[in-house]
Structures are given as structure tokens and as C-alpha cells.
Amino acid sequence: MNHIISVMVENKSGVLAKIAALFSRRGFNIESLAVGTTDDEKVSRITIVVNSDESSIEQITKQLHKLINVIKIQKLLPEHSVQRELVLIKVNTENKSRAEILEIGNIFRANVVDVTKGTIMLELTGNSSKISAFEELLKPYGILEFVRTGMIACSRGKKY
């Protein structure tokens, strides 16, 4: 099962490497990873999606806590949080398919961010399943490039 862990860390060099190394050393696979600074410039927030069972996730959370640069860890439950990924998809339009692609894009509320003769680039945000559905629909037209960020997530309401 996929678990979302949000890790607040000191914004120092080498911290991400320590976290990634910890996952590999303890035998866990990272499904997705997103790193960025927060409103406090000394703190970065790392959102990690990891596939594992309940007892393993507890162990990995405890091991993460032991890293000196880790300040706080939050397990985000899908039903109590908002999750988003961002994707850029460059699609082939050689076969006069641009209008159809735009229509699909509209349904998904994707933005057109680049158009050339023969290609169109769409930007979409959403949760994983929305992005996967979008990808499936565009596949028949020929996806030239596909770039997807790791998931970021934020708990709903006052809980933080």
C-alpha cells in the first residue's frame, strides 16, 4: 500500500542524500519524491510516497526521526489530505489531431503551454489517478515527452 510521508528537514546540503540513503539501506523503495523550501527558509519539506506494509512504514518513520537534520514527520492519510502532482506532456499533432487533443485537455482543465507545428505541450495538475487517466487518453496520439513531478501533499483543515 502507498503511504505519504511529509518530512520537514533542515535546509542544509547533504540532507536529501542522507534520507535517500536511509531508504535504500533499510530496503525501502521510494515511489515518488518531491523536495522544496517552505515559508521558513531554514526548513525544506520532502514529500515521499513509499509502498510498504504498516509495520515497515512505522519502522522507516522511526528511522527517519533518528536523522539529526529531520525536524518533523507527518504521515498523511489520503482521505485527510490534498495530493497533487504536476505533469508536462508533449504530444504529436502531425495527424491533424490538435483539436481533439485540446478537447481532452479542456475536459481535464489542462493548460496549453507550448505549441509548434506538429507538437503541443500540455500542463496538468491533479492527483495520480487523474494524471494517469489523462496520459492514457493522450497515448494514441503519440506522446513525445512526459515529465511528472513527485507528489506533494498537504493535510486538510487545521491539523498540521
Binding site: V9, E10, S13, G14, A17, K18, A21, L22, R25, S55, E58, Q59, K62, Q63, H65, K66, L67, I68, N69, V70, I71, K72
Partner: protein, 569 residues
């Protein structure tokens, strides 16, 4: 405002931390630090002959004294040579600070001469590490390093200092402030949990205490002894728990696990409640995990929350420092006992007494060959509680653990988690520096000692009167034992009868060698060695076929012990 170099600042910071010794080895990228050491009055630098032994010596110093050990090496190979020592300290939660030189900040990442990414390499084997890129960060880094190494669950911390940072100037009075927002070890245990534990312990008919290295490192041996006697609960230990409870006490079951006593393993199998304190339920103790203590509930007291529930299911977890938690537990237990009287334990204690009588740790005595068990028993008889015993790794280590009955904490020093051959002698150097008035022994095998025999020089030069009890059987004995039992006696590369003359070897370094081949010479040789104020190696030619028993086969449950052919002594 006067300015000093980063190197001088480093020494100033180390002095402020109360450092007495640096175990180290110079090299190109630490010359500025060694230049500062040249004028140093307070801290003594001990030159080892190989960096690995600097780390082991710092580790031995830390184990013997409870203070943080310090080692130092140059960049590249100096740092990589420290690694085994750092990993060893990490596995056994020993506080050391390792300082390495690094190529200058401008050269980092260019694969320059003697460059190695030592912070990257040591990430998984340090509690924390630092690369100091600016001299102004140096004082705070050193302060944090010592704080992290010695608090919470102790462990090694590495500080990597580029050579330009060593040379850069810094205001002498720069304040060092610890800023660790993510580091807050839990010391005090949760009182509700402790009360619940006290009641469960009181009501248990067959409880055992399983005490580990955490009890030694938190200095909780007095509290442990008080609690065990108050509640009349038998105590068994891990290898690193030796010394946390007097092994001559009637409640002591000595060491449990793969080569533990049969009575300890029987107790672990038959118990209904394990009170694990400062232990990590390591595979060398639990044996086959699915068969481990099937009828028992577990109370686990540990300072590291990640240890709780890692290997075994825990009924009552208590996160906190062993000393602190045990003090509270004693109070809570006493309240219950004062109200209800002593818990009925006599039946359990009688069962255990019977096991202890039936299955003593033993060796055959109806032979003329020299048995290691005999030598170590003699050693114990002569030195009693007044010595520090370091061990190498392998059969020698297990014999030492089985036959040397420890009564005091920090007197049995051994590489537990990593199982590092060649640990014993350098650690005895650290222990002897830390405890100059104590007798320090290294119980060694002929395989292990050859990994570190160059350190004889360090001992002799520094006039350390360490005694090496060499149990020489011409084998890499522990592996040979496994080959004998599980690999059809195919002794692949484990018979090392290569005729090293250990007496001459130690004499070449200026130490004293004594050779013993007969049982009747054992006592005399040990007494003679103790009276020599120099490094002494006693080369005991022991029975080459002697194995370590009892033994739990790898992967077997601990209830299934292979024992000595005839249980007698």
C-alpha cells in the same frame, strides 16, 4: 579581537569538551592540525600504527570510561581506514568523534589527490556527520558533535575538515551554540506505561530481565541490580550487557543466545514475561525469531524508539533512558509490593536454580590438553573484579564471555554488533589510557591478533602494561567450528598453522613474551605477567580441537542447544 587558525580553534573546542586523548595518524591534509598539536599542552595525541586502530582505541577508551573517545586521520585513505572502527562503534552505540582532514573546499569533487567523500561513505555508519565548509561553523560543529555522540542513544559522529578551513582564521572568542531543532532524545519514560509495566511484572509468575549494552551505557547497573533483587527476577544479558549485573549473583543467568548459557536460553524459552532493557533483540540472542519466547509477553525499555517493535512484538513499550526509567520502575514496583507483599517467585527461582546446577558452562577436565575455559577461569580467579577484559572476535571472545564472570560495568569490552576481528588489542590501548590504574587484558586468538599486531608498538612506546592472553590454536577457530559442524569438516582456509612465533613477535616490539603449553604453568604465567610493567603476551598453546559450546545452530530456535559431548567438569 585576536584571530586564530581553524586548527587551533579545533583544539580549543576539544579542550572545552574535556578531551584527554586523540588517537590518530597524521597525513597530508591534516598537517595544519598536527602543527597545532605540536604546541598542545593539555590534550595528548597518541600515534597509532594504523588508522583503524585509532578508531578502535577511541572506542575502547569510551567503553572503559563512559566518556567520548576521539580519533583523527587524514583525508582519503586515512578516513577510509577509520571506517571499520566507526562502523564498530555505530553497531554497539559507542560515543566517539572522528575527525578527518579533507582536500580544500575548492578541490572537493574534482577527484584530487587523497580525496574521498568520507561524509557520504560514513552516512550509514555514523549517528551524524559534518563537512565543515566554513571556519565560522567549526566551534558549533564540534560542540554539536560531542553532544550528539554522547546523548540519547550514543554513537559515532564524524567531522570532516577541509585543509583550507584548518588554515582559515577565526575570532578566538567565537561562541559555539548548539542548534539542533530535530534532535530531542526522550530521557524520561512515560509514567503511565511504567505503572502498567510494574503491575504486569508483579503479576508475572515467570519473568526474566534481559539486560543489554544500554544499561551499561546509561550507567543503570545499580538501578538494575536493585530492581532485580527487589522483584526477585532472574537477569540474563546480551554480550554487551555483561557487567550490567553481577554474574556471580544467584539471580544471574549470565549471557543468553547463540553461545549463551543453556540455563539462560531455557529461561528465555520458558518465561512468560521478558523485560528487555537497553537491548535490541539481536538475532544472535533470539535465534529463530518465530520460535523466540513464544509464551512470553515483552516489556521493552529503550532510549531509541526505532528499536521498539523492530524485531519482536512488544506489549508495553517504554521509551527512555534505562537509568531514569528503572528508577521510576523501582518506585512503582515498591508501591505495589509494599501493599501486596513479595510476588510469589520461589517456584520459578527454584526451576532456574535446578537448570543452573544441571547445565553449568563447562569443559572436559579429564585430559592433559590446555583448555581455554581453564585459562580464563584461572584469570578470573586471579584478577577477580579488578581488571578490564577486552576481547577479539571469534572463539576467544565467546570463551571469555562464558568463563569470565563479570561483576562491574565497563569491565568487559567486546565488539558485539559488527563482530570485528582485531578490535580487542587497540580497544585495550584505549581502555588502558582511560583507566591507567587498572589491569587491562586482551583475550585474543591467533587470527585476530595478527590483524593488529603492529599496535604492539603503540603499547610499548606509551609504556602501557597491557596483558595479551593469546588463545593460540592455529585455527581461525569460529569459522573452523562452523565448517566442522555444518560444512562436513571441509576446513577451507581456516587452518593457519603458519608458525608465527608470537613470543618473538612481541619481543621484536620491545614487549615481553611468555609461552605456555601446560596446564600447570597457567597460573604462574598470568601472575608473572601481571608483575611486569610492560606489554606482555602469553602465548597459550590451547587444544586446537576445542570448540565453543553450548551453541545454537544458525537459524535454529534457542531452545535447541548443542552441548558439550559430556556435561561435566
Amino acid at each position: 579581537m585576536s584571530k586564530i587558525s581553524g586548527s587551533k580553534m579545533l583544539l580549543k573546542c576539544l579542550r572545552e569538551e574535556g578531551v584527554e586523548y586523540i588517537f590518530g595518524y597524521p597525513g597530508g591534509k591534516v598537517i595544519p592540525i598536527y602543527d597545532a598539536i605540536y604546541d598542545e599542552k593539555k590534550i595528548k595525541h597518541i600515534l597509532v600504527r594504523h588508522e583503524q586502530c585509532a578508531a578502535h582505541a577511541a572506542d575502547g577508551y569510551a567503553r572503559a570510561t563512559g566518556r567520548t573517545g576521539v580519533c583523527m586521520a587524514t583525508s582519503g585513505p586515512g578516513g577510509t581506514n577509520l571506517i571499520t572502527g566507526i562502523a564498530n562503534a555505530y553497531m554497539d552505540s559507542i560515543p566517539i568523534v572522528a575527525i578527518t582532514g579533507q582536500v580544500s573546499t575548492g578541490e572537493i569533487g574534482t577527484d584530487s589527490f587523497q580525496e574521498a567523500d568520507i561524509t557520504g561513505i560514513t552516512s550509514p555508519i555514523t549517528k551524524h556527520n559534518y563537512l565543515v565548509k566554513n571556519v565560522r561553523d567549526l566551534p558549533a560543529t564540534v560542540k554539536e558533535a560531542f553532544y550528539i555522540a554522547s546523548t540519547g542513544r550514543p554513537g559515532p559522529v564524524l567531522i570532516d575538515i577541509p585543509i583550507d578551513v584548518q588554515n582559515a582564521l577565526i575570532d578566538e572568542n567565537t561562541k559555539a551554540e548548539i542548534n539542533l531543532p530535530g534532535y530531542k532524545p526522550t530521557i524520561k519514560g512515560h509514567l503511565k506505561q511504567i505503572k502498567e509495566a510494574a503491575l504486569k511484572i508483579y503479576n508475572s509468575s515467570r519473568p526474566v530481565i534481559f539486560s543489554g549494552g544500554g544499561v551499561v551505557s546509561s550507567g543503570a547497573h545499580k538501578e538494575l541490580t536493585e530492581f532485580a533483587r527487589l522483584s526477585r527476577i532472574p537477569v540474563l544479558t546480551s554480550l554487551l550487557g555483561k557487567g550490567s549485573f553481577p554474574e556471580n549473583d544467584e539471580l544471574s543467568l549470565m549471557m543468553a543466545g547463540m553461545h549463551g548459557t543453556k540455563f539462560a536460553n531455557l529461561a528465555l524459552t520458558e518465561t512468560t514475561l521478558i523485560i528487555g532493557i537497553g537491548v535490541r533483540f539481536d538475532d544472535r540472542v533470539t535465534g529463530k525469531l518465530s520460535e523466540f519466547a513464544k509464551n512470553a509477553e515483552i516489556i521493552h525499555i529503550d532510549i531509541d524508539p526505532a528499536e521498539i517493535g523492530k524485531n519482536v512484538k512488544v506489549k508495553i513499550p517504554i521509551v527512555g533512558d534505562a537509568k531514569n526509567v528503572l528508577s521510576d520502575l523501582i518506585k512503582e514496583y515498591r508501591i505495589i509490593r509494599d501493599e501486596k507483599g513479595d510476588a510469589p517467585r520461589q517456584e520459578w527461582i527454584d526451576i532456574i536454580r535446578k537448570w543452573k546446577e544441571d547445565y553449568p558452562v563447562s569443559y572436559f577436565t579429564d585430559t592433559d590438553s590446555l583448555k581455554p575455559g581453564y585459562i580464563i577461569e584461572k584469570l578470573h580467579e586471579i584478577v577477580k573484579d579488578n581488571a578490564i577484559i577486552c576481547t577479539e572476535v571469534g572463539q576467544n571472545q565467546m570463551w571469555a564471555a562464558q568463563f569470565f564472570k563479570c561483576s562491574r560495568p565497563r569491565t568487559f569490552i567486546s565488539s558485539g554488533g559488527l563482530g570485528t576481528m582485531g578490535y580487542g588489542f587497540p580497544s585495550s590501548i584505549g581502555a588502558q589510557f582511560g583507566c591507567p590504574d587498572k589491569l587491562v587484558f586482551d583475550i585474543a586468538g591467533d587470527g585476530s591478533i595478527q590483524m593488529v599486531s603492529h599496535e604492539f608498538a603503540t603499547a610499548v612506546v606509551n609504556k602501557l602494561p597491557i596483558k595479551i592472553i593469546l588463545l593460540n590454536n592455529g585455527n581461525l577457530g569460529m569459522v573452523k567450528q562452523w565448517q566442522e559442524l555444518f560444512y562436513n569438516k571441509r576446513y577451507s582456509e581456516t587452518l593457519v598453522r603458519d608458525c608465527v612465533d608470537f613470543v618473538k613477535l612481541v619481543e621484536a616490539y620491545g614487549g615481553v613474551g611468555i609461552r605456555v603449553k601446560k596446564k600447570e604453568d597457567v597460573e604462574k604465567a598470568i601472575k608473572e605477567a601481571i608483575n611486569i610493567k610492560n606489554l606482555v603476551l602469553i602465548d597459550f598453546h590451547i587444544d586446537p580441537d576445542e570448540n565453543v559450546f553450548p551453541m545454537v545452530a544458525p537459524g535454529a530456535p534457542i531452545s535447541e542447544m548443542m552441548v558439550l559431548g559430556k556435561e561435566k567438569k
